[in-house]
């Protein structure tokens, strides 16, 4: 069982008129779409990070934008907090429900509304599965570039909330670079369109700020995504190295040579052995690290660059290099990498999937420090990462049934994030802050930085009803009138919140 932080207090003090809100939701959506049966709502108590659990009071399953608008407006009118959820695959407990609130699940909103090939874009509902966009676009020679490992199940709405990346974002960017517009229901129940038909429209880039706001600024009801041409040529290489240092040096050399691969992935010995056990990916025997490098683009460029990449790998100690001759072999190379997270379950009872970022050049130093941490604590750490952009996914292995081991693993996991911050990196590259990492935000940002971000939050959600408790470590109140403060809020007085 994958595990993470200790679960925060599961019950929240009721904030608004939940009963009134539920009754109204039933009138609006019908009983079928409003779930309160305890056992049923419990299946929604966690997302992809099962170590955080809170049973929602109500789960609603809207089927269209108007229903989402009605749900949000009803919650707002009754002062009831709400949380949006897509496929529930997030790894930061970003869709962790509220026991005093409504969980708005978009899994029934999975229509592709428009495929506009002429403008190279598609309009989809938020529950549409990431890979289904590509499936729909492929007959026209297009695809949707963001490819998180969970792309066969995660929803585009979730991608927007988390600004999801993936192995190929090294070259092609993240969700935010591929979203042209979103229809959003703001926390007060208004539907607005951010972005639009024409590019680079004047005004604040609220779309850019919205993508990656982890569901704290509103609920999306439709998304216009950019489609990319399926590249003329794709080449994939697998190289085995004696050590991660050698593999890291090869990555640096490739980048220094002015090459921008579509993806550069690295796995260390422990994660390779897990993947071997799970899917028999048949990676080079005895490798201390493997690199997967993928290039895409115009045929002539790719062929030329591919040779160069192979040479850099050899020059830095690669003892075996394989190239995929066809799509089947390419899938085989990727299989080990893509199964790595789940595969680790076969070599350890419990594990934490960590997500941190460092400048790529700090890779050897940080890996050494992680190894030291592991040695001194006795906690094993397997490393899988997007080496091209320094996004580490250390897998911290432990056995939760062993007393004290969970805490030790938590400690190592947190220390790794400290290392990332110390090297000028980030506490999360793609999984998001959610409920899981709010406690680390203060290590990366000052209170002023966080206040500034919360200014935007207050503009969208002054009542703090939209996915409260995520992203920001301290609950803050937006105040009635900016600049002028009246009286003292009871929560402030009770020391529960700071006046903002």
């Amino acid at each position: 069982m994958e595990s993470g932080a200790l679960t925060p207090p599961a019950r929240q003090e009721p904030r608004g008129d939940l009963d009134g809100c539920t009754a109204r939701l039933r009138e609006l959506l019908g009983r079928e779409s409003v779930i309160t049966d305890r056992q049923r709502v419990r299946t929604y108590e966690c997302d992809g990070l099962a170590s955080h659990r809170t049973v929602p009071a109500v789960v609603v399953l809207p089927e269209n934008a108007e229903q989402v608008r009605a749900v949000v407006a009803t919650c707002s009118a009754h002062g009831v907090p709400f949380v949006a959820r897509g496929s529930g695959t997030g790894l930061s407990a970003g869709a962790l429900p509220r026991s005093d609130g409504v969980l708005v699940v978009t899994s029934r909103m999975r229509r592709i509304l428009e495929l506009d090939v002429a403008n190279e874009r598609a309009v989809v509902e938020p529950g549409v599965v990431n890979l289904d966009v590509t499936r729909a676009a492929q007959p026209y020679g297009y695809y949707f570039a963001p490819d998180p490992s969970s792309q066969q199940v995660c929803s585009v709405g979730g991608n927007v909330a988390e600004n999801s990346g993936g192995a190929h974002c090294l070259k092609h960017g993240f969700t935010v670079n591929h979203v042209l517009a979103v229809s959003v229901v703001t926390p007060d129940g208004q539907e607005v369109e951010l972005g639009g038909h024409a590019r680079e429209a004047p005004g604040y880039d609220l779309l850019g700020a919205f993508v990656g706001s982890e569901g704290t600024l509103g609920v999306v009801t439709s998304i216009t995504v950019r489609l990319l041409r399926v590249p003329e040529s794709v080449r994939t290489l697998l190289a085995g190295f004696p050590t991660t240092d050698d593999a890291g040096a090869a990555v640096s050399a490739i980048i220094a040579a002015g090459i921008t691969p579509a993806a550069v992935e690295m796995m260390d010995a422990l994660s390779i052995s897990a993947a071997e056990q799970a899917v028999r990916c048949d990676y080079p025997e005895g490798a201390g690290a493997v690199l997967i490098v993928e290039l895409d683009g115009p045929h002539a460029e790719v062929e030329h660059t591919f040779t160069e990449v192979s040479e850099h790998c050899v020059a830095h100690g690669a003892f075996e290099i394989r190239t995929a001759a066809d799509e089947r072999e390419r899938a085989l190379i990727w299989k080990g990498r893509k199964s790595a997270f789940a595969a680790v379950g076969r070599i350890s009872r419990d594990y934490i999937v960590q997500d941190g970022v460092i400048p790529r050049t700090a890779l050897p130093e940080v890996l050494r420090r992680i190894a030291e941490l592991s040695a001194s604590s006795g906690v094993r750490v397997a490393n899988v990462f997007h080496a091209g952009d320094g996004n580490l996914h250390p897998l911290v292995l432990f056995d939760g049934s062993d007393p004290g081991e969970t805490e030790r693993a938590e400690e190592v996991s947190g220390a790794i994030l400290d290392l990332c911050v110390e090297h000028g990196g980030s506490i999360t590259g793609e999984h998001g802050v959610g409920a899981d990492k709010v406690r680390y935000m203060g290590r990366m940002f000052t209170p002023e930085d966080l206040d500034t971000m919360q200014s935007l939050r207050c503009a969208f959600d002054p009542e703090g009803l939209c996915n409260p408790g995520k992203v920001f470590p301290t609950p803050r109140l937006c105040g009635e009138t900016p600049g002028r403060r009246r009286g003292v809020h009871p929560l402030t007085e009770a020391g529960l919140a700071e006046q903002f």
């Binding site: 069982m1 994958e2 049966d37 305890r38 056992q39 049923r40 419990r42 299946t43 929604y44 108590e45 966690c46 997302d47 992809g48 990070l49 099962a50 399953l61 496929s87 529930g88 695959t89 699940v105 899994s107 029934r108 999975r110 529950g127 599965v129 969970s150 066969q152 199940v153 995660c154 799970a278 893509k338 199964s339 997270f341 789940a342 595969a343 379950g345 076969r346 009872r349």
Partner: protein, 466 residues
């Protein structure tokens, strides 16, 4: 044929074993009793990644977490943790088709099969269904595992609708479920064709490469006897001596998949007895659902004393017909068949037994034959054993989805290796006002080996039996 139902057999009582028929209080106050609850350690394998969601037919239909594999495992977990076995919990377990597509999709290797089977057995023991459902289940299980009763059913089923009995039943208010289920049954059943009875022994043609015992199955035997004859012919052509033991009965698949564990165990024992005595190298099955159950006999009979070893030994020798022909390596010459076919993966063949490439390769090896893939092929057609009778509405919806995707291939013939799928998709196509001939993989091979024209498979010309 032995007509005694297994329920009449005395339940085995072995020392030190809990008697499942005796009421067991669930000590923790949870959903399950202490006899074979869903395994906690298998539940713990689930990391909640959700990769199973898009593969699940009921999630496809309703988009609800509790009707996804992840949600059902979560329900099992909360059941172990103290949540009672409520109506809603049972409903979501019942909704599962048992297609095992989630097992294929799972990167963590969660063994959902044993989990849902144990859960179903618990539901059957510990949950009292409403009257209508109980009657329906009794009807189904008094019928389906019994080939002779099944064959006798065709006429009355047709009569049922004409007679106004359905209207009568509805007015009795016994249940809302029954008429829909019976209608489904009537729709599904194809016209009974006659086929010659297969002799108990069919000699190998040419050099004998193996001795194989053939499971004739219940539904296959009753409604698709020609599939059995084709299987015997193809195997013989490929150098197999085929033995067809009499009195082999039902394999227990339908019972096990519905949680009727004791019934399944009794059926399984008879099959083990039959084929162990026959002395065969392989047991060949041409019905996907039966095959996957036979392969699981070691687990099903693990607690059954001396049967455990015999079951394990038999299970290792079980092969799907396509699997065996591919394994032996085809030797019989294939004649040309100008035909485009859509190959439908039966869940219990693809997800249950991991057999995907062999039937396709065998079909492609026929000169002139083109195999087309069905969009979203991994999603169940809704047949799922007797699911389409127990849960007719979702089954019909899934059938329609599948029929649409099958039609979209533009193929002339639908090929599948499971009688349930063939009936289900056929019925869905008929509801669309369309007809599409359906054949078993082995019937296509049979035609190719015998040099029959494509028309025989397309139903335009009756096949000449030999």
């Amino acid at each position: 044929m032995n007509e005694r139902t297994p329920e009449q057999e005395p339940a085995p009582r072995e020392s030190g074993r809990l008697d499942p028929s005796a009421p067991v209080s669930s000590g923790a106050g949870g959903a399950f009793d202490a006899f074979h609850p869903p395994q906690r350690e298998l539940i713990d394998d689930c990391v909640h990644c959700g990769f199973c969601l898009p593969a699940c037919p009921t999630y496809e239909l309703w988009g609800e977490e509790m009707d996804s594999p992840r949600g059902r495992i979560h329900l099992m977990e909360t059941g172990l943790d103290g949540e009672p076995l409520s109506e809603s919990m049972v409903e979501h377990f019942d909704n599962c088709l048992g297609c095992m597509a989630c097992v294929t999709a799972c990167p963590s290797g969660v063994r959902y099969g044993p989990l849902i089977n144990r859960t179903r057995a618990q539901v059957e023991r510990n949950h009292r269904r409403e009257l209508g459902q109980r009657l329906l289940r009794r009807l189904i299980f008094g019928l389906f595992p019994h080939p002779r009763r099944l064959r006798a059913l065709r006429g009355p089923l047709a009569l049922y609708q004409r007679s106004g009995l359905s209207e009568l039943l509805r007015r009795t208010g016994l249940t809302d479920g029954l008429p829909a289920s019976l209608r489904t049954m009537e729709e599904l059943v194809p016209p009974v064709r006659s086929a010659p009875r297969i002799p108990e022994r069919v000699p190998a043609r040419g050099e004998r490469r193996a001795v194989v015992g053939m499971l004739t199955g219940c539904v296959q035997h009753a409604f698709f006897p020609e599939v059995n004859t084709a299987t015997a012919r193809v195997l013989a052509s490929e150098g197999c001596e085929v033995l067809v033991p009499r009195g082999q009965g039902c394999c227990g698949a339908l019972s096990e998949h519905t949680g009727r564990e004791r019934e399944a165990v009794a059926f399984a024992k008879r099959v083990v007895d039959t084929f162990t005595t026959a002395g065969v190298d392989y047991v060949v099955v041409n019905s996907a659902g039966c095959g996957s159950t036979l392969k699981e006999y070691a687990r099903l009979l693990a607690d059954e004393g001396e049967y455990a070893t015999a079951a394990a030994s038999l299970a290792e020798r079980v092969r799907d017909v396509a699997e065996l022909v591919a394994e032996l390596g085809p030797v019989a010459e294939r004649h040309r068949l100008e035909l485009t076919v859509a190959y439908h993966d039966a869940c219990h063949l693809s997800h249950g037994q991991g057999i995907r490439s062999q039937p396709r390769e065998l079909l492609r090896s026929v000169p002139g034959l083109e195999v087309r893939e069905i969009e979203r092929g991994e999603i169940c057609c809704g047949s799922a054993g007797v699911y389409n009778l127990l849960r007719p509405e979702p089954a019909a919806e899934l059938g329609e989805l599948k029929a649409g995707n099958v039609r979209a291939t533009g193929a002339e013939l639908l090929v599948t290796a499971n009688p349930g799928c063939a009936m289900q998709i056929g019925a869905a196509l008929r509801r669309r006002g369309e007809r599409m001939p359906v054949a078993h993989t082995v019937q296509v091979l049979d035609a190719a080996v015998r040099g029959l024209p494509a028309e025989t498979l397309l139903g335009r010309r009756a096949p000449a039996e030999s």
